[in-house]
């Protein structure tokens, strides 16, 4: 074993430290009093900083060194959790480029989001609890990333979901937040049925849930042989398991048709949206598919990869259309997140593991940037989220504006920003795989550029439209005077809120260059998957993607930039052009209503039916038996007791009474009679004694 391999081995055994620090921080904070705000925030940020350093060290170790260019640097460390059935259940940690890159991203982006959160949550009374949940979330997400065991991964996956539930509903007293937290958890849990069944199948057929082990019998190391066995629905066994796992990923990564929870999850505080619903948790699904990629590709004849690609493609386009017609600043970003996750899935489905994971990383940076930026906007405008009541913020919030612009350009795929390169990789991979999917994805890219431009102009362009509460027509001047003028003028946010934006912006600008074929032949590809051939480059894809991005921005400028919105009550210019379609898009294609009318209603009906069955049938039979029993008893009483037995009883009573009279006569107090009876008795006894 070479020195390098030994070093990796050592680091793998220490991978648990990465989630450990935030976990300890969460534990300590759960004991802190509510007033320990500063301590709580410091702890969270310090712990995340430690994780970040450890992740960086691990990342550094996985960088290709010297001649080992064709092999993935992979090390793992397994230990026994408990004896489980006939075998020991092992848990373990892994260190390979996929994990190292992801862990570094999560820890780094998370760190800056936490810094931002100290500002965003500054006025919340439950500040300490918020940071406790954030730490716990970070710990579980990092645990998910470093897991070398599907069960451990699943456990962290569920914990991530639980933290997300708690954080979405952080303002639980808002009914909308309470509904959103429930919806998020249940929807992802629906996907988890698939994940769960996938785990069971994998265990059933490989006898282990450890992904890699030294003997080469890990679940993923057996993927090849699983690919040869037949599974369900014309898939190989590996393909069936992969499909099941993918259903789990669809829930977590908000893929159509399980995407409905993500936009509602925006009810949580904005740093939560940035951390969970943009940068990390929703990326867990994509990461998991990447982690289990060997199963997806085990049998080339399986349709599971096409399924992944088409789900991704549909999600990318579908969500992008919805984003066009939203007015809530965070909802636009939420649907854009859905759409981008769709891009990643599409890349994976098209065989582009590297492209998908690369977009995952770059997207985390610029989407966190955008969300934090929107958080700054919300704070700067005193908790306004409706873009129609913003405008002109460029003047009031210059730092936020510039950073947001960087994020927007990155998302819209403008060269040379990060999103351009990663999205380009995806489009190339899809182009080689399926032309129709590529066309649809390019359309989605066009819409992305368009809706982001729309958002930029609505929020930062034009003039300030806040303070015109004309929808209700009762914006009183008295209110204004009472609270002072400054209360309605937007303002730039404090340094701890904008500093993370600046840091993330730097990455949003430069990070894409790591994955470009024009710089040292795609560094990221060589890092992540040196054994895979790099996709051939296609100029038409690049050119078209630039053109489409430019067209989207141009159209956005034509509609929203040239003549900025003057008044908050003004209808969206697009609403006039698109007519009814705009309403349909605004109402998100009525998917929520559809689910409400079908699945929710059906499940409720089933429950009601079963309850009725319990009341009427099960208890009905029971009560019927009870009544019959009672009736039979009554019958017995009337026919048996009253007529026969009681009749006899009455007669018996008479005879007893007669006997009583007879006996009474015996006790009449006459001594002679007593003596007579005694003598008779004595005779009888003697007779019995002798003739016995």
């Amino acid at each position: 074993m070479s020195d390098h391999a030994q070093h990796l081995q050592q680091l793998a055994a220490q991978q648990w430290l990465i989630p450990f620090f935030p976990l300890v921080a969460a534990a300590i904070q759960s004991l802190l009093p509510r007033s320990a705000r500063r301590l709580s925030a410091t702890l969270t940020i310090l712990a995340m900083g430690m994780s970040c350093l450890l992740a960086a060290r691990a990342f550094w170790a996985t960088l290709p060194v010297g001649e080992q260019h064709d092999e993935v640097a992979r090390a793992f460390f397994n230990f026994t959790w408990f004896r489980f059935g006939t075998t020991a259940l092992e848990f373990g940690f892994i260190l390979d480029p996929l994990t190292a890159g992801m862990a570094l991203m999560v820890a780094f982006v998370g760190f800056w989001i936490f810094v931002n959160a100290t500002g965003y949550m500054a006025e919340d009374e439950n500040f300490t609890r918020f940071f406790c949940f954030l730490s716990l979330f970070a710990a579980s997400m990092l645990g998910l990333v470093v897991a070398n065991n599907l069960l451990l991964l699943f456990m962290c996956w569920e914990l991530v979901g639980l933290c997300s539930y708690l954080l979405i509903g952080f303002w639980y007293f808002k009914p909308s937040a309470a509904a959103a937290m429930k919806k998020a958890f249940i929807t992802t849990r629906v996907g988890d049925i698939g994940f769960f069944i996938g785990i069971l199948m994998l265990y059933q057929h490989t006898g282990t849930l450890t992904l890699y082990n030294a003997e080469g019998t890990g679940a993923l190391q057996q993927a090849g042989s699983l690919g040869q066995l037949a599974g369900w629905w014309g898939l190989s066994l590996a393909g069936t398991i992969a499909l099941m796992l993918f259903i789990g990923a669809m829930g977590k990564s908000a893929q159509f048709p399980l995407h409905v929870w993500l936009p509602d999850a925006m009810e949580g505080p904005t740093p939560v949206s940035a951390l969970i619903h943009a940068a990390t948790m929703v990326a867990a699904g994509v990461f998991m598919v990447g982690r289990m990629f060997a199963l997806f590709t085990a049998n080339a004849g399986d349709w599971v990869m096409d399924f992944v690609m088409w789900i991704g493609c549909i999600t990318a386009l579908f969500s992008a259309t919805i984003a066009v017609a939203q007015f809530d600043i965070k909802r636009v970003l939420a649907y854009s997140t859905c759409s981008q996750l769709g891009f990643m899935m599409m890349a994976l489905g098209a065989g582009g593991l590297v492209a998908g994971q690369f977009h995952l990383l770059t997207h985390a940076f610029f989407k966190a940037l955008l969300f934090l930026g929107s958080g700054c906007v919300i704070i700067g405008t005193h908790h306004e989220q409706d873009m129609r009541r913003m405008g002109g913020l460029r003047k009031y919030m210059p730092i936020t504006f510039w950073c947001y612009l960087v994020g927007m350009l990155a998302l819209a795929g403008v060269p040379p920003f990060a999103g351009f390169f990663s999205k380009d990789e995806i489009l190339v991979a899809t182009y080689h795989h399926n032309k129709l999917a590529w066309v649809l994805a390019t359309a989605a890219a066009f819409l992305t550029a368009f809706y982001m431009t729309r958002q930029m102009f609505m929020v930062f362009g034009g003039t300030w439209r806040g303070g015109q509460h004309d929808a209700h027509g009762n914006e009183t001047t008295g209110h204004d005077e009472h609270h002072g003028h400054a209360h309605h003028e937007p303002h730039e946010v404090s340094w701890n809120m904008w500093l993370p934006l600046v840091v993330l912006s730097v990455f949003a600008v430069f990070m894409g260059w790591l994955g470009t074929p024009w710089l040292a032949g795609n560094l990221f590809h060589h890092y992540l998957a040196p054994e895979m051939p790099a996709p051939e480059h296609a100029n038409i894809v690049v050119v078209l993607s630039v053109v489409v991005g430019a067209a989207g921005i141009l159209l956005g400028w034509l509609i929203y930039g040239r003549r900025p919105m003057q008044h908050a009550a003004e209808p969206d210019p697009l609403a006039g052009t698109l007519g009814g379609l705009f309403t349909v898009l605004n109402r998100k294609w009525y998917v929520d209503e559809l689910y409400e009318a079908t699945i929710v209603r059906a499940t409720q009906a089933l429950g009601t039916l079963f309850r009725a069955v319990d009341k009427l049938v099960v208890d009905g039979i029971l009560h019927a038996i009870a009544w019959i029993w009672w009736g039979v008893s009554q019958l017995f009483r009337w026919i048996g007791d009253e007529l026969i037995i009681n009749g006899g009883f009455d007669a018996g009573c008479e005879s007893v009474r007669g006997g009583g009279r007879l006996l009474a006569r015996l006790q009449n107090g006459r001594v002679q009679t007593y003596l007579r009876v005694m003598a008779l008795g004595a005779v009888v006894l003697v007779a019995i004694y002798f003739f016995r």
């Binding site: 004896r83 639980y172 309470a178 429930k182 249940i186 499940t603």
Partner: protein, 505 residues
Amino acid sequence: MHTDWTIYLTLLGVGVIMLLPASSKALIRCVALLTGLAGLAVGLADYVHYNRIVGELIAATGSGFVHVRDVPWIPALNSRYHLAVDGINLPLVLLNGFVCVTGILFSWNIEERTKEFFAFFLVLIAGVYGVFLAMDLFLLFVFYELAIIPKYFIIAIWGSTRKEYGAMKLVLYSFVGSALVFIGLLAIYVAAGSQTFDILELAKTPVGRELQFWIFPLLFVGFAVLAGMWPFHTWAPTGHVAAPTAASMLLAGVVMKLGSYGCFRAGMLLMPEGLELWKWPLAWLAVVGIVYGAAVAMVQQDFKFIIGYSSVSHMGFVLLGLMTLDVYGLSGAVLQMFSHGVVASLLFAVVGRMVYDRTHTRMLDELGGLRKTIPFAALTFVVAGAASMGMPGFSGFVAEIQVLIGAFRMSPWLAVGAALSIPITVAYILNANNKVFMERDKPHGGHGHESGNGEHEGHSLPPITWPEKIAAVILMALLVIVGLYPSCLMDIIKPNVELFLRGLS
């Protein structure tokens, strides 16, 4: 090992309480608590001991049993006073100890006829200990009946909502179950030549296949009635709802386990061939119960009915695990008995003691925003709810995943069917959580409307008391310990399950 002392100490406690004057309530409570702790201590000591020796024991004797007491009892019937411990019943003895102690702590506020309450409570506990330990069918049956009588009085006297109906229904169901069991037991006894009631002896020479075919369902269903098997489950929700908190905890926590334990010990052990013939329909009944219970829980408006139906759903996992006849499924079933015992106790404590005793309503629409006024209750409910919905890190997950692995080996469709309950479970737990502890825009129901302001009225709720907190922490700690370190129970369960399966084949 002295596990039999759990029974004697508990009955001794009953005796002491009977002698105390009814007016010294504090003393009675303390005696009851001490009694519970004594039983628990005996159980824990034996657990530690057994855990250490189980490996050697099996290697030396080929059996996991430690015979605690084995003396002739009724010579005319060849019935013996035979108590024994193995890795299957020891976790349940422990569970009974924990539920007893925490149940007493959660009943600290019982003011009405305190003396009788704790006396009945402890008699029930003693009966349950007896059932778990008895290795003689006749003795088992006696203890089984001993456990049923106090249930009736506890519900009928200290209960709420239609308590007479609930108590009557529960007891009738129990006795119908007992009748089936009794017929089954007698049939086995007679068929085996009336020589012995000893389970381990009878297991060595199973009765004929024909007889097993008829007797197995009789015996199994008789016990399974008490385990809440669909469609004989309707006693459970009504009984739970009518019962006072401690009784609900006992009912769901341990009494339902009496049923599943009886299914295992008397039904499956004695009639392997009947089991083989009947396992498919029974496994499907279990799956139906899992989904059915969850679906009904989702549409309930009464907080306690939700938990009651969730018990039906979760006990379905136990029965399903038993039917898999697989080392995973069976171990999972035993662990699920323990896990559900703890979860259900905790949930009923939250509903009955923490919420209902304070707000005097259990209707979801009348509650709301309690997280603000009694945050500890909210925390407890989230933890218990998470465990109930099978969140990893809690005991329920470790148990259910093993049951599902076993079911999957039997037939993937069983596992798929049972897995359908996963999102439904999440839905009803979260729905209850939202409606009771969050969303504050509802009028706060129940007592004291004088302020007329929901929010202020909420503040007037009495805070969570120390006995409640201690008990809740004990149960929550159990959930987490077993969830994170399942070996603590699996190490004793698994070898015994393996022995059982080896005996079957």
